[in-house]
C-alpha cells in the first residue's frame, strides 16, 4: 500500500484519546457503561499502543498502522445500504438451521439477521442495546472486564473505551445445542476503528455452538479491535469457532479470554485467512478441576501480510486437559508469529497438556517465528510441546507424481492436506464445510498471486 503521508503510532493514540469525548456524546444519555469507558480510556492513554520493546510484540511491528493513517472512531459507512445488504446476502453461509446476527460496522442490522423466536433457548442482546438499557446492565457489569485486563492490556483498554457491536449472550442450562448461532461482523471500509465486544455466559450444563465470522467488503481499510470474554460454568460445553477472512488491507486485533469452571469443555478454533496485520490472543484459564480445552489455530498468509497468534493456557487445578494444534501456511514474503504458553500451577496435578505447531513455508522468503513454551510447577503431569518449520515433503510429492499427479497439483493436494487437519477439528460439520471452501479459495489465490504452488 502506498500513501505519501505516514501517521506515527503515537499520533494515532492521541487521535483516539481526543475523539473520545465526541464518541461519548453519541452514546445514549443513560449508558451505564460511560464510567467504565472513561476509566478504560485513561488506562489506554497511560499505556499507549504496544510496541516492539515489549516481549509479546517483539516480532509484530505496529508501524504498519502508520501506512494506513488515522482510523476514525465515529465515521459512518460511505456505501449505500442496499449495496451492503446485497453483499451480505450473497456471502456464502454455513448450511443448516442457524440463528444469525449481522453487525455492519459495529451496528446490528435486524433486517439481515435471522432469529428464531420461541424455540430459541439462547438469550442474547446486541451489546449496545444491553448497555443502553440500564436494567440489563447488572449481569453484564458483574462479568465485563473480569478477564480482559485494562491495566496491562492497552488494546483491551482501547476496546473497552469504544466498545460497540458484538453480543451479550447468556446460554441457560436448558440449551442443548439445538440451533447454533452465527455472529457475522462485516466491515465496509470506512477507514474506521471498530471495537466489537462479546460477553458469553454459558451456564451450568449448557451445550452450545457459535460461529464468529469477521469479514471485510472488498479492499476495505479498517481496523478492528475485538475483545471476547467467555465464561463456562460447571459442566458447560461451548464450541466457539472464529473465521476471519479479511481483505489484504484490513488490520485486526483480537483478544479471546475464556474462564472455565469445573468439568467444563471448550472447543475453540481460530482460522485467519487474510489481513494486512493480524494479531490474535487467546487466553484460557482452566480454573477448576477437570476442565478441558481443545484449541486449534490456522493462518494462511501471502506477500505483504503479517499474522501473529498468541495463546496462553493456565492450568490452575488438577485433572485438566488442554490440547492444541496450530498450523500456518506462508508464501511470498509473508511473516508469521506463533507463541504458545502453557502454565501448570503447583495445584494442577494430573494435568494432560499438549501443544503442537507445524508450519509450512511455500517460498524462500516467507518467515515464521515460533515459540512454544511450557512452565510446569506440578510434578505429576503429562505435557508435551513442539514446533516444526518446513517445506512440503519431497517424498510425498514424488509419491503423488509416481501416480500420475503433476508436481504442482501434488503440492496443492499436500498443502490442502496440511490444512485439512485443522478444518477436520471443527466440531460443527457445516462450519467445517464452510472452512474447507474458504481455505481452498485462499490457497487458490496463493497460486494465482505467488506461483509458488
Amino acid at each position: 500500500m502506498k500513501t505519501a503521508h505516514r501517521t506515527p503510532v503515537a499520533d494515532l493514540t492521541k487521535g483516539w484519546v481526543s475523539e473520545f469525548q465526541d464518541f461519548l456524546e453519541t452514546r445514549p444519555t443513560h449508558d451505564p457503561s460511560k464510567e467504565l469507558r472513561s476509566l478504560a480510556l485513561s488506562h489506554f492513554q497511560e499505556q499507549g499502543m504496544p510496541h516492539r520493546k515489549m516481549e509479546a510484540w517483539r516480532n509484530t511491528p505496529l508501524t504498519l498502522l502508520e501506512e494506513v493513517g488515522l482510523f476514525s472512531t465515529t465515521s459512518a459507512s460511505k456505501r449505500p445500504k442496499s449495496e451492503i445488504s446485497e453483499w451480505v446476502e450473497a456471502l456464502e453461509k454455513p448450511e443448516g438451521d442457524w440463528q444469525r446476527l449481522v453487525f455492519i460496522d459495529g451496528q446490528i442490522d435486524p433486517g439481515l439477521s435471522t432469529l428464531s423466536d420461541a424455540e430459541s433457548e439462547m438469550e442474547w442482546m446486541a451489546f449496545d442495546a444491553a448497555l443502553a438499557e440500564g436494567s440489563q446492565y447488572a449481569p453484564i457489569q458483574e462479568r465485563l472486564g473480569q478477564l480482559a485486563d485494562l491495566k496491562t492490556d492497552a488494546l483491551a483498554a482501547l476496546n473497552t473505551a469504544y466498545m460497540q457491536g458484538g453480543v451479550y449472550l447468556r446460554i441457560p442450562a436448558s440449551c442443548q445445542n439445538e440451533r447454533p448461532l452465527h455472529l457475522l461482523f462485516v466491515s465496509t471500509g470506512s477507514g474506521s476503528l471498530r471495537c466489537p465486544r462479546n460477553l458469553v455466559v454459558a451456564e451450568s450444563g449448557s451445550q452450545s455452538s457459535v460461529l464468529v465470522e469477521h469479514t471485510v467488503m472488498d479492499e476495505a481499510h479498517d481496523l478492528t479491535n475485538c475483545v471476547t470474554e467467555l465464561f463456562l460454568a460447571e459442566n458447560a460445553q461451548l464450541q466457539w469457532t472464529v473465521l476471519e477472512h479479511a481483505s489484504e488491507s484490513a488490520i485486526r486485533f483480537s483478544d479471546v479470554h475464556a474462564y472455565q469452571a469445573r468439568d467444563s469443555r471448550l472447543s475453540l478454533q481460530l482460522l485467519t485467512l487474510g489481513g494486512r496485520l493480524v494479531r490474535n490472543n487467546v487466553h484460557v484459564a482452566l480454573a477448576d478441576t477437570g476442565a478441558e480445552v481443545d484449541l486449534n489455530g490456522l493462518f494462511l498468509a501471502s506477500t505483504g501480510q503479517l499474522v501473529d497468534h498468541h495463546t496462553e493456557i493456565n492450568h490452575a487445578m488438577p485433572q485438566g486437559r488442554s490440547q492444541q494444534l496450530h498450523k500456518s501456511v506462508l508464501t511470498g514474503n509473508a511473516r508469521g508469529v506463533f507463541r504458545g504458553m502453557i502454565n501448570v500451577s503447583p495445584h494442577a496435578q494430573k494435568t494432560n497438556s499438549s501443544l503442537s505447531n507445524p508450519n509450512l513455508l511455500l517460498s524462500d522468503q516467507a518467515r515464521i517465528e515460533t515459540q512454544p513454551q511450557l512452565e510446569i510447577y506440578a510434578d505429576d503431569v503429562k505435557c508435551s510441546h513442539g514446533s516444526t518449520v518446513g517445506q512440503i515433503d519431497e517424498e510425498a510429492i514424488f509419491y503423488l507424481q509416481s501416480r500420475g499427479i503433476g508436481r504442482n497439483h501434488a503440492k496443492q493436494i499436500l498443502t490442502r492436506g496440511f490444512i485439512n487437519e485443522i478444518c477436520d477439528r471443527i466440531p460443527n460439520k457445516n462450519v467445517q464445510k464452510l472452512a474447507y471452501g474458504l481455505t481452498s479459495e485462499t490457497l487458490e489465490s496463493f497460486v494465482n498471486k505467488e506461483e509458488t504452488i
Binding site: E394, F398, Y399, L400, Q401, R403, I419
Partner: protein, 248 residues
C-alpha cells in the same frame, strides 16, 4: 516394452548401477534378485524418476519413447507403475481423494473421460474386494497408521485401478506375513495378461512361488551377472548369493 541399455546411475556421486542391460517384452514377467546393496532399489527408483538418482550413461526406452526424458508423473501416465517398498504416509489427504485424482490424471492422459465420485466409488469398491481391503482405509489419510500389509495392499489397489502397462514391484514382499503375501500376489496375478509386463524386484525367493516369473536376473555390483528361468530363484535360495558372486 521396456528396453534398458548399458545403464549407469549414481547416487551422491557414488556409482550404483554399472551397465545394466535388460529387455522386457510385452506380457513378460521378469524377476530381479540380488543381495543388499546390489542396486535393486536404485534400478526401480531410476525407472520411476526419483530425484537424486542421476543417470550417467545408457538409455531406457519404454514403448519406443525415451523414458529418462519424462517427469515422474508422465512416466506414470504413460503406464509405468512402481509399487514402493516403503510407501509414503501422507496425513490430511484421504486415500479416496488421492486415488481419484490419480486415476483421473491417468485417464485424461489416455484421452478417457474423468470419473465422477459415484463412478469412482463403484470401481474402487470392486478393486478393494480383490485385495481384501476394509472400507475404512479409503476414507483414512494415505497410508497413515496403516500396517505393513495394509500399505502393500494399498499399492496393489492403486495398480489395479490404474491398470499400468509395466508394473515394477520393489520388494513388495518385505514385511508381509504369509496371508498378506498371498493377497498381494493374487492381486498382482490378476493383472497378468499377454500385454502387461512386470518387473519383480526381491531379495527372497518366497514371493516368486506366488508370482512365477518368466525370467530371473541376478544383480550384483550394479550389473546383471546371471539370467535364467524361474528355477534360478530356487537355486539361489539353496546356495545363497555367495555362490553367484564367487562364480563371477
Amino acid at each position: 516394452m521396456l528396453e534398458i541399455k548399458n545403464l549407469f546411475a549414481q547416487v551422491d556421486d557414488k556409482e550404483i548401477l554399472s551397465g545394466i542391460d535388460l529387455n522386457i517384452g510385452a506380457g513378460e514377467v521378469h524377476a530381479i534378485m540380488g543381495p543388499n546393496g546390489s542396486g535393486k532399489s536404485t534400478l526401480s527408483n531410476v525407472l520411476a524418476g526419483r530425484a537424486g538418482y542421476e543417470v550417467t550413461g545408457g538409455s531406457v526406452t519404454f514403448e519406443g519413447k525415451n523414458l529418462l526424458d519424462m517427469d515422474p508423473e508422465i512416466r506414470a501416465r504413460e503406464g509405468i507403475f512402481l509399487a514402493f517398498q516403503y510407501p509414503a504416509e501422507i496425513p490430511g489427504v484421504s486415500n479416496d481423494y488421492f486415488l481419484k485424482a490419480s486415476l483421473n490424471a491417468v485417464r485424461s492422459h489416455r484421452g478417457e473421460s474423468e470419473l465422477d465420485a459415484m463412478d469412482f466409488l463403484e470401481i474402487s469398491r470392486e478393486k478393494m474386494k480383490q485385495v481384501e481391503m476394509p472400507d475404512d482405509l479409503m476414507s483414512r489419510a494415505i497410508n497413515e497408521g496403516f500396517s505393513g500389509g495394509e500399505k502393500k495392499r494399498n499399492e496393489v489397489l492403486q495398480m489395479l485401478l490404474l491398470e499400468p502397462k509395466m508394473c515394477v514391484l520393489d520388494e513388495t514382499d518385505s514385511g508381509l506375513d504369509i496371508d498378506a503375501l498371498r493377497v498381494v500376489a493374487e492381486g498382482v496375478n490378476a493383472l497378468r495378461n499377454e500385454s502387461r509386463s512386470m518387473l519383480v524386484i526381491t531379495h527372497y525367493q518366497r514371493l516368486l512361488e506366488y508370482i512365477v516369473p518368466d525370467k530371473v536376473h541376478v544383480l550384483s555390483g550394479g550389473r546383471i551377472v546371471r539370467t535364467g528361468g524361474s528355477e534360478l530363484a530356487l537355486e539361489l535360495e539353496e546356495k545363497g548369493y555367495g555362490w553367484i558372486e564367487a562364480s563371477t
